[in-house]
């Protein structure tokens, strides 16, 4: 059953009501109008993508993969693509020491990119790319990914040449200016050739506190012996819905490390898929979720150990305050013949209030007999002994709570010291907001 091409992990039995019909939403006309403006290959691809979307529908909470994400707003109303906007003045996004390669997308359109690129790095947009159809519509797309292909306005295509090591991080700032019930379908395609390496730091943020829908799709292929570091911040506005997917395809001896912080949006679901295409590849995925006040934030991972001798490590933590809900759902599939697989998964969840919810659902499917697979999930509260110890040393309660929450989240950042400061500053700010509401 081993195979070199991405294989659908979504091989679950069909459940009644798990997909919402989409005919009444009127996307067909939107897609037809969009396709009419495109070159023939892209127009045809959009039509095919719409057909897939129509077939797959919008996943509902009855679907096992979407049980923690309420997609009802998407089934109730048509979300037309947000129009182009004049890019507002760029704000510095991160506090990286040293030079960065800054790219900006507004409403899913590439509006700014570096004019001067290091050797071995090529950045293109959709108009400059006609060789990406295989990355735009894939057999394992779910319905919302197919809709992304049908309606996307642009694509950011990044290629790192064989052996090229890009020292400066590529910082991608996704800004949504969409109104209520508008959608942003952004797309990134990244190809790391053999032995190449790059760090990508991306942030999704929204303006105007609109109840819009952000639906990004990223297809990253990590070539043989290539190295990817990926950081994703899901920092949407408090009314937004986010349904992003990162799909990683990792060739032999390739290595990818990712960190994600999901703390924005009213409803957010960050999906990360990994497909091992060659032996001796490894992936580490770490991340944290901070959920409060009617936020429903989920991290979904699916790792396909399709070939032997690969390693996946996952470490996720969530902190949930009053009225919030978090979920971690991690699927690991070890296919027949994927011997010597080493797959580890851990989910730890911290509830700051009685009225807070954390869900953790590891799912392991193992069809090989010489493998090492582990998973663990815990849900708990702040430790009363630790709190009292800090308080007895003079640290006021709200500061003591913040210290312990930061220490908890810091556990996923131990091997990313250059990120720890800025991500923990976000945790600290979040806890500051909690303190004000006490």
């Amino acid at each position: 059953m081993t195979t070199g091409s991405p294989v659908n992990l979504r091989d679950r039995p069909v459940v009644a009501g798990e997909r919402a019909e989409v005919d009444s939403l009127g996307y067909e006309a939107l897609v037809a109008a969009r396709a009419a403006q495109d070159p023939a290959w892209l127009g045809a691809l959009r039509e095919a993508a719409y057909a897939r979307f129509r077939e797959l529908g919008i996943p509902t909470v009855r679907s096992e993969d979407w049980r923690y994400t309420n997609t009802a707003p998407l089934t109730r109303a048509t979300h037309a693509p947000a129009p182009a906007v004049a890019a507002p003045v760029a704000e510095p996004l991160t506090a990286f020491a040293g030079p960065v390669l800054a790219v900006r997308l507004d409403n899913g359109r590439v509006t700014d990119r570096p004019s001067d690129l290091p050797e071995g790095l090529v950045i293109r947009n959709l108009a400059e790319s006609d060789d990406i159809s295989a990355d735009l519509l894939c057999p394992d797309d779910h319905g919302l990914m197919a809709l992304n292909a049908a309606l996307l306005e642009d694509a950011l295509v990044i290629e790192v040449a064989r052996g090229a090591r890009i020292a400066a991080p590529l910082v991608i700032d996704h800004v949504s200016h969409a109104a209520d019930e508008q959608a942003v379908h952004s797309r990134i395609i990244l190809r790391l050739q053999e032995g190449a390496s790059i760090t990508v730091f991306e942030r999704y943020r929204g303006r105007d506190e609109a109840a819009h829908w952000v639906n990004p799709v990223r297809r990253f292929s990590v070539g043989a012996n290539a190295r990817l570091r990926l950081v994703t911040l899901v920092d949407e506005n408090p009314r937004a819905m986010h349904t992003g997917v990162v799909a990683l395809d990792v060739a032999r001896d390739g290595n990818a490390k990712s960190w994600v912080l999901v703390d924005g949006g009213r409803t957010a679901r960050h999906e990360a898929r990994v497909h091992f295409a060659g032996p001796n590849a490894s992936v580490a995925m770490k991340g944290a979720t901070l959920a409060a006040e009617s936020q429903n934030l989920a991290i979904y991972t699916a790792v396909d150990h399709a070939v032997p001798h690969c390693r996946s490590d996952q470490m996720f933590r969530s902190v949930v305050d009053q009225g919030g809900a978090s979920a971690f759902q991690g699927r690991v599939l070890v296919r027949e013949g994927a011997q010597k697989t080493d797959a580890n998964q851990s989910s730890r969840n911290l509830l700051l209030d009685r009225n807070a919810e954390a869900n953790a659902k590891p799912e392991l499917e193992i069809y090989a007999d010489d493998v090492k697979c582990s998973h663990g999930a815990t849900v708990g509260e702040l430790d009363a002994d630790m709190l009292f110890y800090l308080e007895a040393r003079g640290v006021p309660r709200h500061e003591a709570r913040a210290m312990l929450v930061e220490a908890f989240v810091a556990g996923v950042l131990e091997d990313a010291p250059e990120l720890a400061d800025q991500l923990l500053a976000r945790v600290s700010r979040w806890m500051g907001e909690r303190g004000e509401k006490l």
């Binding site: 110890y389 007895a392 040393r393 640290v395 006021p396 500061e399 556990g411």
Partner: protein
């Protein structure tokens, strides 16, 4: 400095302290001795303000202020220090960061500016050295992976850095070998000062061989049943607690 009047306290609805009266003046060292279950640790937690220790009667005055009205951190800011019988491990918070946060929280509560980082580091290193603590342990998570003796020494480092007015040391001698006991006792003796009071809570007399108290109290069944000078410790060591606890029962 400290005056406890008719203190009654419950834990889980069960009365543990049943009318404690105790007065400690600045410059004095008092020891409270008593058998297991007499209420020693409860008294220390009530002084520090731990949740779940319900005071039903009485008051605790510290320099004229009623401690019972204050949060634990406010008590610490006034200068009350509790040395824990079981120091808590805090993964992910470094010892030095813990000390820095504590020192500056206390200074902030007193309306003082933060201590400059360099000055603080120097102070902490000096105190750690005096207690023979490996400087590398300052970078490690608070008490994580520390031996019993190292944890107790860490408590003493914290006390030395925070320089409290009143230090309540709960079974600081428990779990220490003789060398560690000497080091810890030196740390305690170094804190003796005319404007500071120390309250040692202990089960055994051996700490008192190294730290001579001015007054010893015997706690039994939630009350102080006997107070006297340091010779009381020898009597207890010889005859045990039985004579006192039976009288109190």
């Amino acid at each position: 400095m400290l005056e406890i009047r008719n203190l009654h306290a419950n834990v889980d609805g069960r009365p543990i302290l049943k009318g404690i009266d105790l007065k400690i003046n600045a410059g004095e060292v008092h020891a409270i001795m008593g058998p297991n279950g007499s209420g020693k640790s409860t008294l220390s937690y009530v002084l520090a303000g731990r949740e779940g220790y319900e005071v039903t009667e009485g008051e605790i005055l510290f320099e004229g202020k009623n401690l019972l009205d204050l949060e634990p951190s406010e008590r610490a800011a006034l200068g009350v220090f509790l040395g824990f019988q079981y120091p808590v491990e805090i993964p992910g918070v470094s010892n030095i960061n813990f000390l820095k946060t504590a020192v500056n929280a206390v200074r902030k509560a007193r309306g003082e500016p933060e201590m400059p980082a360099g000055e603080l580091l120097k102070l902490v290193r000096e105190k750690a050295k005096a207690l023979q603590m490996d400087p590398d342990m300052l970078k490690r998570s608070v008490n994580v992976g520390f031996s019993g003796g190292e944890k107790k020494r860490n408590e003493m480092v914290q006390m030395a850095v925070l320089a409290p007015r009143l230090a309540v040391l709960d079974e600081t001698d428990s779990g220490l070998d003789i060398d560690a006991l000497r080091i810890v006792a030196q740390g305690i003796n170094a804190m003796r000062a005319p404007d500071r009071a120390l309250l040692l809570i202990t089960h055994y007399q051996r700490l008192l061989d190294y730290v001579e108290p001015d007054v010893i109290h015997v706690l039994a069944h939630g009350r102080i049943v006997k107070s006297g000078d340091k010779s009381l410790a020898q009597i207890l060591e010889r005859e045990g607690y039985a004579a006192f606890t039976e009288a109190a029962a």
